[in-house]
Structure formats: C-alpha cells, structure tokens
C-alpha cells in the first residue's frame, strides 16, 4: 500500500540552534521523502553593509555572523586586511589570538553539547554545559569586555593585552572543564539510548562528502583528516602540538565523537599557548581608521571554525572602505545542500539531531 505524502513544517525554531530556519519536509508516514530548507528569516545583508564601513568598523558586524562562535570570522577578516596591507602582527598577539579562538571553540562546543542532546530529548546535559560555558564567557568578559560578541581580534594584533593573572584563571577553568567533560561522557556518550539514536543516522557518504564540499567535524566524521589549522596553518598553530581527531562512519555518532575529542585537544592547545606565550607588544597600531586606505588588491583567508572552514575574500580598490567582502561559511553548505540530501529516508524524529550534528548556524547562511 502506498501512503499519501503530506507536508510538515519543522521549525523555524530548533533546539540548540541559534537563529531561525525552517525545514519543509514531505513525509510518508514517519519517513522523509523530500526535504527543502527555507531560509530568509535573518537576512541582514552583512556583506553589503561591510562595503559601507571603513576597514575597522566592520568588526561589530563580523561577530554577528555566527552567534555561538564569533571569533573565527573576526580572525579571517583581520588576517585578510593584514594581508592586503602587509602589516606585521606581534608574536604575542598571535598567541593571544590562538588562545581566544580556542576558548571560543570550547564555548561553542559546550553549546553544541546542549543542542545535540536536547534534540534527542536529553535536556540535563545542556543545562550543565551551558552553565559551564558561563565560566568561559566570564573569561571573555574580563579579557574583551564582552561575553558573547568580543570584537577583540583587530588588524595589527588584538585590542587589549591579557589582564594580570589571566593565565591562571584560564588554567583553573580548563582544569575544571576537563573534570566536567567526564561527567558529560557519563551522561551522553556512555548512554545506550544516545548511541542507538545516533549510530547509523544521517550518514554522509565518504565519496559524496568531498563532492558536496563538506568541511569541519562532519568531514572528519567521515574518516577524512582535514583541518585548516594543520593543512594551512595560520597564526602559531604550526608551533603547537595537537592531534586532529578522525572517526569513521559519517553518522551523527561519529561527528559527536569528533567534537568530544576536539574539545580536549583545544584544552591541550590552550595549555601550550599559556606555557609559550612571549612577552612584548600585543598590537601594531594602525593609522587613523577614517583615513586608513589599503593598497589595491584582494586577499583570501581561511580559518577553522567549529562548523568547519570559514573563508573571507576581501577586495580593496585602494580606498578607505572595502570594495567587496565575501564570506563563505560552513553552514551554507551543511545546512542547505547537505541537510536536504541527508534528511531523505530519515525519520522525522531525527531532523533536529541531524541539524545539530551538522553545525547549522542560520545567521551564517544569510550573511
């Protein structure tokens, strides 16, 4: 007997996903036969707005590309501007940038813990991890003045030096987090139901993954070792010792395992950064931003964010404003093409879990 397909609208609110985005699915019974993503709830024309601002003013926009992890976008843009001008960054600033990027990665993963488990009906771990994320946000507040939006990484370095005693506070928080991660494992990864719900669900084919342009943890969950921090090291990542975890399988479980290991690697990186951070300048002062013209040319930089590779292409026509800035985020590929393909044949119960495991970030799609 052939069941009649009906259309369901899932969203635009989803657990654990910042921003709004709808998935329209055609279902036969419980099984999805066709999925269409509907974006457009958050369009703020970031790229056009960047053209109207001078080289420094855009940072208030850049951090709003993806709320849970704003720093990689700032980093990309700052590096693109530095490339255009040929400006040197002090060694200390490079270390501080890595510290901030990795702290942001941990904060974002802690939010992901909540989203991934809440999408499967386990709300407790989200409360724990978002509570623990607050300790990292406290660090950010002390360092940058902002908890969520930092606007900290600038062309020429970082906006402020590390406060006194900040290193110790970071180390203490990391020690605490490492202990808490074991608790999360007990509740989430050691849970049979969690494993059963995630294994074999939302499988990305290894061959198709490259074809579709999958990046970040979903790609590493397919067994392909790819990380911009290793492949095309920026800042001081080539001086640091860390492993890029890879899992086979390509399902939600594999992606979750990748993230679980990455958060520990980030802690490892932070410890190394704090051990090796040199003294000295943290900022090469830029000229008056109102009159700061960059030489003609273009620059492309890529950065490894939590969701995968983010790229920033900036064109200068020799003026005080960018001629064009284009941003390519991982969520665009993951949450549109990939999601529509992955959802076919899955159960409607798994939509939210798959979206979370792909690192969907609607504001990043509609820049």
């Amino acid at each position: 007997m052939r069941e009649k397909a009906t259309t369901l609208y899932i969203g635009p609110q989803h657990p654990g996903i910042t921003g709004n985005m709808m998935v329209r699915v055609k279902v036969e019974g419980d099984t999805i036969v066709k999925a269409t993503t509907e974006v457009g709830y958050l369009h703020r024309s970031f790229e056009k707005l960047i053209e109207k601002r001078n080289w420094l003013q855009s940072f208030t926009l850049l951090c709003r590309f993806c709320v849970p992890e704003p720093d990689p976008v700032e980093e990309s843009y700052a590096r693109a501007v530095e490339l255009l001008e040929g400006r040197e960054v002090p060694e200390r600033a490079k270390y501080i940038r890595v510290l901030v990027l990795e702290l942001a990665r941990i904060a974002s993963y802690l939010l992901w813990y909540g989203g991934q488990s809440a999408s499967l009906g386990l709300y407790t771990i989200g409360q724990w991890s978002v509570g623990d994320r607050n300790y990292i946000l406290d660090l950010f507040e002390e360092l940058t003045g902002g908890r969520v939006y930092h606007m900290y990484i600038w062309p020429g370095g970082v906006r402020r030096d590390l406060p006194k005693g900040f290193e110790n506070k970071v180390l203490k928080t990391m020690d605490y987090l490492e202990k808490r991660l074991d608790d999360y494992d007990d509740l989430m990864f050691d849970n049979t139901i969690f494993r059963k719900r995630t294994q074999g669900v939302g499988i990305i084919d290894k061959e198709k993954a490259v074809e579709w342009g999958v990046v970040g943890p979903p790609l590493r969950g397919c067994g392909i070792r790819s990380d911009i921090r290793i492949d095309d090291p920026y800042e001081v990542y080539n001086k640091l010792d860390f492993v890029v975890p890879v899992e086979e399988g390509g399902d939600i479980w594999a992606r979750a395992l990748v993230r679980r290991q990455e958060i520990r690697q980030s802690i490892r990186i932070i410890r190394q950064v704090l051990d090796n951070i040199p003294a000295g300048k943290y900022y090469n002062k830029i000229p008056n931003p109102q009159k700061w013209a960059l030489p003609k040319g273009d620059a492309y930089t890529r950065t490894e964010a939590v969701r995968g590779e983010v790229g920033m292409y900036v064109v200068s026509d020799g003026g005080t404003h960018p001629r064009r800035a284009h941003f390519r985020g991982a969520a665009y590929v993951h949450a549109i093409t990939l999601l529509e393909n992955l959802l076919v044949g899955e159960n409607i119960s798994d939509i939210a879990a798959i979206m979370n495991s792909l690192g969907t970030c609607p504001p990043e799609i509609e820049r």
Binding site: G121, N347, I348
Partner: protein, 363 residues
C-alpha cells in the same frame, strides 16, 4: 501489625455510623458518595499541583539549578499561580476542528485517571472501593486514557497532533501488555486480585523481597513499561518537544490543556502507587524477620506515611529517568516492547507459576 490508632477503618466506620443514625439509608449512601467525590477532587488538585512542583524541583536539582523559589515558601505556590493562569486563559477555538470531540477528549483523559484513583488503598482502611478485581479494574480503566489522547489528536485538525496521538496510541497499546503481565506476576504470588488482600499478603515481607528474582524482574519490567504507558521520558514521543511541538495537545489551551497536563502527572502517581502496592507492600511497614524491637518502631510510623513514602520514591525514580535519558525513536520503542520486554515477561510468568507451585518463595 499496625497500631490501631493509625487505622482509618475506625474513622470511616464512625462517619458511616453517624450518617446512618440521622439519615435514610439511601441518603446516607448518596452523602458518602458526595463526600468521597469532594475529597478526591481536592486530593486530585493538590496532588497534581504538588507533583508538578516536585518535578520542577527534582529536574532543577539534577540540572544543577535552583528551581522555582520565588512564589511562596520554597516556591511552593508557583504551580498554584501557574494553574490560576491556565484556568483564566482564553480557550482558543480551532478552525475546522471537530469541536464536540475536541472538547470531549480532555474529559476522557482526566476521567480515566480519576477512576483509577478510586481503587487505590491509600492507607489501612482508606480506599474508596475495595473491588475484588481491584488491580484488573485499575489496568482496564487507566487504559481508557488512550482513547482521549487519540480523539484529541484526531479532532485537533493538526498534523503534529495527529502524529503525536498515533505514536501515543501505538505506544500505550503495546506497553499495556507488559504492564499487565508484570502485575500478573504479583497476582500469581498473592493468589488474589483484590488490592487490600494483596497488601495483607505482604504483612510478613514485601513481594519484591519474598518473590526474589522473578518478582524483581517483574518490577523492572513494570517500571519500564509503565513509564512508557504514561508517556514520560525517555518514552515521551507523544509530546516530543524537539520534534512535534507538543504532540497531541498542541492545539489545546487554558483549562483543557491543564486537564491533559494534570492527568499526565496523576497518571504518574497512579502508576507509582500501583508499584508500591503490588511490589512494596502498599501501606505495610517495613519489617525484618524477628527483630521485634525494630518492627515495633516501624509500626509507629502511620500507614499513610508508608504508602506515600514508597509512592514518592517510585515517582522520584520515574522523574530521574526522564532527566537522564534521551528519547527513543518510535521503531526502537516498539522493538523494546515486542522483542525484549514482552517475551521476557511471558517467560517470567511461566517461571513464577513454577516457583509458586513448588513453593520456592519466602512465606
């Protein structure tokens, strides 16, 4: 045996006697029914509100939070405030909904849980009716609730409600079997379906101890299956928030939603009360063999305290499940029942029959 001062039989007998003294017999019976109705309604409301409060507190403790603590002492009046909000809220009419069935559904759900409450022995000599098929009656009546849920889903004219209701129907009908079979285990042990007799049979030890391994298996199956039957996490597929908004009661608002909400919590209480009565001796105190002094001290604790203590212990277990397990998918849920729990409980029944025949349990 329990001390007589804590027995409710004298109290109920006295009320009965004094009513009969100055009323016609039929009037006395009607008055008694009215009194029982009012007492149950009050109990129902207070219990429902308290369980909602308890859930929020337990969940808060598990999640490293404080929970409600602003309205009243320790936030005790929070749920009262919520309930006042719910009953004064506008009832939103749903376009193209079958309004008769739509309005009927919450009453069926709440009536089912209300009827089940009637047969539960709350303390020594305190139950509304002591049917000779008590446990059978409770199982039969409590499964009526699914009719209300299916009607609610169908009449709401919403796809999400319908999916939730259908999931719920499949789930309740399947898990009903395991619940029945695991309770049958105790019926086989006790040799009666009368709840007061089952409680009396546990005077020298609760069935979970006396029936050792088979009773323990039956209890675990009962705990899993009954959690599924009342649509609570990890089996809360019917109202999976992250998938279906709110499942079968998506379209309900105000007092009608409150009915579903209260019924859900009362069902949890009923399920826990049955477990306490069947496996943990109901209102019977905890006795250890010939430790007379210890047993004597235990006797001083009123039977109501014993009953509610055990019941709330099991309620706590059920809440604990909800906040530490992810939700199952519908196919996994049905697999668990039909492939594991049902064969296991069938086997368990055979074993228990054998154990009882051979007398291999503690008398």
């Amino acid at each position: 045996m329990l001390l007589e001062i804590f027995s409710f039989s004298t109290l109920t007998a006295n009320i009965d006697k004094s009513l009969h003294a100055w009323m016609a017999p039929w009037l006395a019976v009607v008055t008694e029914l009215v009194i029982i109705g009012i007492v149950f309604l009050l109990f129902y409301a207070v219990l429902g509100l308290f369980l909602v409060y308890l859930e929020r507190k337990v969940c808060a403790i598990i999640q490293n939070r404080i929970g409600p603590n602003r309205v009243g002492k320790w936030g005790l009046l929070q749920t009262v405030a919520d309930f006042i909000k719910l009953i004064t809220k506008e009832l939103i009419p749903i376009r193209n909904a079958d309004s008769f069935l739509f309005n009927l559904a919450p009453f069926i759900v709440i009536a089912a849980s209300f009827m089940a409450m009637a047969a539960i022995p709350f303390a020594k000599g305190l139950h509304a009716i002591d049917l000779n098929i008590g446990i059978f009656y409770i199982i039969a009546v409590s499964s009526l609730g699914v009719v209300g849920i299916l009607i609610a889903g169908w009449s709401s004219n919403s796809k999400y409600s319908l999916i939730g209701a259908m999931r719920s129907g499949a789930q309740i009908v399947s898990y009903e079997l395991s619940v029945g079979l695991s309770l049958l285990a105790v019926v086989v042990f006790a040799g009666t379906m009368q709840l007061s007799a089952i409680v009396e049979s546990q005077a020298n030890g609760w069935w979970i101890f006396k029936g050792h391994i088979p009773a323990l298996i039956a209890f675990i199956i009962y705990l899993i299956a009954s959690t599924a039957e009342i649509n609570r996490g990890p089996f809360d597929l019917a109202e999976a928030e992250s998938e279906l908004t709110a499942g079968f009661h998506t379209e309900y608002s105000g007092i009608k939603f409150a009915f579903f909400f209260l019924a859900e919590y009362i069902n949890m209480f009923i399920v826990a009360a049955i477990a306490a009565t069947m496996f943990f001796g109901g209102w019977m105190p905890f006795h250890i063999g010939h430790w007379d002094a210890f047993n004597r001290v235990m006797d001083y604790i009123p039977s109501v305290v014993w009953f509610f203590g055990k019941t709330f212990f099991i309620i706590y277990l059920i809440m604990w499940f909800k906040w530490t397990f992810p939700r199952l998918r519908i196919d996994q849920l049905l697999n668990l029942e039909w492939k594991y729990l049902l064969p296991l409980s069938l086997m368990n029944i055979v074993i228990i029959a054998f154990v009882v025949l051979m007398g291999w349990y503690f008398h």
